[in-house]
Amino acid sequence: VTPLIRVVSLAVLPIALMISFSYLVTAEERPGDGFTAGIITALALALEYLSFGYAQTRRRIRRIRFDYVLFGGLGVALAATVLPLLSGDPLLGMQRLVVAIPVLGELKLSRSMVFDVGIYLVVVGGCMTVIDGLEEAIG
């Protein structure tokens, strides 16, 4: 592992997070969705692990319990599933909200976006749980 890779991976993380976020927001307009976004984030984190080693990376992000992220994401997705019931829509029914943001245009918020966030969290949490598990299992 060369210093170059470390620098690159440091730079990649924020970029990857931004790409993930943009995928999440524009999931309904363009290719890319919560699943892809989750994979990208997990990939960037895995790159950190590879270039800085498990221990050092973990020290930096130790507050994150990825199993909580995993099941929290599942909770978010389930909430997005049942919430439409409250307003009389069917399960996973549609609710949307268009918010106009000055300069940037308008942002469509919808039930499906919450659902996508849930998927994103499940994917990130799941992949990182597996990586942590590998670390635990073989050291």
């Binding site: 895995a46 949307r96 469509k108 942590d132 299992a137």
Partner: protein, 778 residues
Amino acid sequence: MAAVPVPILIATAVVALPMVGAALILPMCALGFRRAAGPLIGCATSALTAALVVWLWAATDGPVVWRVWWAPDLGIGFGWAVDGVSLLFALLVASIGLLAFVYSAVFVPRPVSAGYHAYLLLFTGSVLGLVLSADLVQLYLFWEMTDIFAFFLIGLSWRDPAARASARKVLTITLAGGLALLLGIVLLGAGLGSFRLPGAAAGPPAAEALHLTLAVLLIAIAAAAKSAQFPLHVWLPDSMRAPTPANAFLDSAAVLAAGVYLLVRLQPVLSLSPWWPWVVGGAGAASILAGAALALRAADFKIILAGSTVSQYGFIFILLGAATPEAVAAALFFLVQHGVLKAGLFFCVGAVAVATGVGARGSAGGLWRRMPALFAVTTLLALSLGGVPPLSGFWMKEGFLEAALSWDRPAVVALGVVGSALTLAYMLRFLAVVFAEGAPAPGPRPLAGLLLAVPLTAAAATIGLGLWPDLLLRHLVNPAASTVWATSVDMEVSLKPGPTLLLSVLALSVGMAAFLTRGRLRPRLARLASPLPTADGAYRAIGSAAERAGRRTLALQSGRLSRYVSITLAGMLALLGFVAWASLRGGDGAWRLPPPAGSPLDLDWRMTPLLLLICGGALLTLLLRERIHMILALGAVGYLIAGVFALALAPNLGLLQVHVETLVTVLFILPLAALPEEVRRRELPDRGLPNPVVGFGLAGAAGSAAAWLSWRAVESAPADPVARWYTENAAGLTGAEDVVAAVLVHFRAFDTLGEIVVFATATAGVAARAALMRRERS
């Protein structure tokens, strides 16, 4: 939403209140009220619940049913039905529940657990929800909840392996009954076109209809499992591991009454089947004898009571088998009386156990002289259950005999007399075992007043109901029976000379004689019964057979990846082979693939080099020696596939493929560093691989089969594919411009939800395995 009637609001509160109370107990414990929280909240909530049920009873004139749709496409609703039947059961459950909680305030179960009161409250709420349900599916949910909370109560001392085994046995049998109930409900609902309770919405099904017969059998099994009827009664003695007040509540009124409730509710429909009297009445008849045999043999005080419960519920089942309005009234009368008496007897046993400190199976010789008050109360209750006038138990036997005589089946009358005689015999034996026989117990400790006051309440009730049985009949039983059959039922009991009285006297004298000559009778009976297979033995045989079968499946779990893959591929091939065979055979088989539509495969020629490279990469993976090279070659194959997707105009898929491939490669590489050098270089021979001929054969066959299936799938695409519909309607119906997103999070969002649940479960499995490996290492 239309205004909800007041009784329905009360019913909601009745079910919700115990659950809320249970939810409050844990936080209260955390706040430092460890000892007080359970008893305090338990008593307060159950008192409030009982008050609400009484209010509900007073506020309800006629049946009130309120139901909203839950899954309208399936005809499933959710709601409450408040009428005579549900009120009778709710009053019984709430009042005995209240007694149990008051008793539990001073009866400290071992081990001390705040969970005890919480589970008991949750259980109370579930039973109340069960009897108030206005829908069969909803009833099923509450039914299973009662099973689960009873399981926790029985396994309260879970550190004791025997308690765990008992709890598991109870859960196994009652859950099996629950499954039967679910099947029966589905059959019944499909036949009636609705899961509505009470009563059928559509016309009654034909008596000979197969689904009705099956539903009768299944629901009778469920009720027998719940009400501890032969041969499914074997769990009841095991449930005696629960703390005694819980037994008083669960095993006298709540759990067992739920099975009776089910049969009472569904009786008008189910008794159309000619099987009904034989199945239900037959179970009852066998239970009278099986329960009595248990009660006459057992040494443990509580198991004597359990046996007597099995036997008494046998009477109720026979009455339900008769399926006439009068018989239902007699059954409900019997049920309420028995509930009060049996709960009282359990409370007495609890008091004895506390006073002597020897538990419910120790000997307490000569106790009657030292604890006269407790002895008097217990005697009153036991004699009442034995059918001695003028106590209430006398009337329940009278009611049974009267209904049996009017049913005009001599065998049932004879069984009633024998059963009554046996009842008196084992209740006398119970008194003798608990208070007289055996070595003297250590000096009794003074009892808390409540431990005596609670059984005293039951004793007062049995005297009161013995003197004025009409009160119970007029206010609870007759309205309930009238609701079931939608006719006016007017059951009454009175002391008048006639065949019933004669039979009662006969039964009592036979019972007395049997008790007095028990020393001579017992060995003979034991000889008579010993060659019979016991139901408990059957349970054990089934259990060990299941365990053996389970151990056989371990042969599949070799721990070798190649083995797992081989088994999976073989299974896939078998399935595909079946489909191919059915497809080639032709005919009208439902398994046929659609005929080829003849649409030529529209391939981009630029894919050809990519596909060739993919084949090359796959072969290379096999030939490379170093694992890191293998991983990279595999990764290359993945990227090439992404290229194919891109050319096939599936950018979303291509994008995802690139990301997933990268992540998988990283996941492969991460642990590689930790492996020993010779493993990394594949210098050690790979063990456990299948024979190369088998391996290549299997892989080749599976690959060819998959290719064939894909080819056929593309070839026989329907003329109007659903894909086109998705493409055309994505933007209009969902507002998503990206059709893939529209499919993933709108059209097939439910599938997506299922997939992430699977994904989460699988990763949780990986994490658990990893934690296990770490523990093994350290």
